[in-house]
């Protein structure tokens, strides 16, 4: 199990833009990546079926479609994100009790400050929350940190 989330800056920017767009409602979504790669590559904004400032839930129909598509592409949810719009970017007890993807990084974004967006990442396993650093890289092909450089050709 890795202890950091490495993610492209452009995807992080898109997640923040989604959270800002839906504010004051909570925004939510997934970043899919190849199974076992731990690489979030494909950003999928999801509907918040609750349309609420304090709660989010993936629409079950949309989730089925997105999960089936990931399955077809040999992908998994590498990142599951949502926003808190009036509180800090830390998992609530509700978030912890629902956390059901053991391989996922749970990314939280807080939009409570208009000028500044707090972004934090967590592992949530069996009710235990472990914070991890977020490493933003320009891209996986030309990563800024050596661990993110990959010269393999992936199609």
């Amino acid at each position: 199990m890795t202890t950091a989330l490495t993610i492209e800056q452009a995807i992080l920017d898109a997640i923040v833009a989604h959270a800002r767009r839906d504010h004051p409602d909570e925004a939510c979504g997934v970043v899919a990546g190849p199974v076992g790669s731990d690489r979030p590559m494909r950003h999928i904004p999801m509907d918040n079926a609750e349309r609420s400032t304090t709660f989010y839930r993936f629409d079950s129909k949309e989730q089925f479609r997105v999960w089936a598509e990931m399955d077809d592409r040999d992908e998994e949810p590498v990142v599951i994100y949502h926003s808190h719009t009036a509180t800090e970017a830390y998992p609530s007890r509700t978030d912890i009790s629902y956390a059901g993807e053991p391989n996922a990084h749970y990314l939280l974004v807080s939009t409570r400050e208009p000028e500044q967006t707090e972004i934090r990442s967590f592992r949530i396993l069996d009710g235990v929350v472990t914070e991890e650093p977020v490493n933003a890289v320009q891209s996986y092909m030309f990563g800024q940190s050596p661990s993110a450089v990959d010269y393999e050709c992936r199609s």
Binding site: E26, C28, M46, E50, S52, T53, T54, F55, Y56, R57, F58, S60, K61, Q63, F64, R65, W67, A68, E76, I80, H82, H84, T85, A86, T87, P91, S92, R93, T94, D95, S97, Y98, A99, G100, E101, P102, N103
Partner: protein, 103 residues
Amino acid sequence: MAIDVRIPTILRSFTGGAKAVSGAGDTLADLLTDLDGKHPGLRGRLITPEGGLHRFVNIYVNDEDVRFLGSLDAKLNDGDTVTILPAVAGGALGLTVAHALRG
């Protein structure tokens, strides 16, 4: 009467790591009882002690959420696929507060 059942990562500890298992039953309730015989404990993660569907999971027959098909009474046919997914949900508030607010 064979139903293909897709198991999410978090519940594969009950199926020896298998991503899909086979089961039988005319309804979802029957299927889960059948599965629990082969994979003890699985049913308990899907159904509450009160006998309802757990809110932490979504179960689908083919591509339809069983909450729209009569829940545990959902009818099954030979060749159907039942998919179990973890519900993805949460929020800024504690569960008790969230449910009180939502009524």
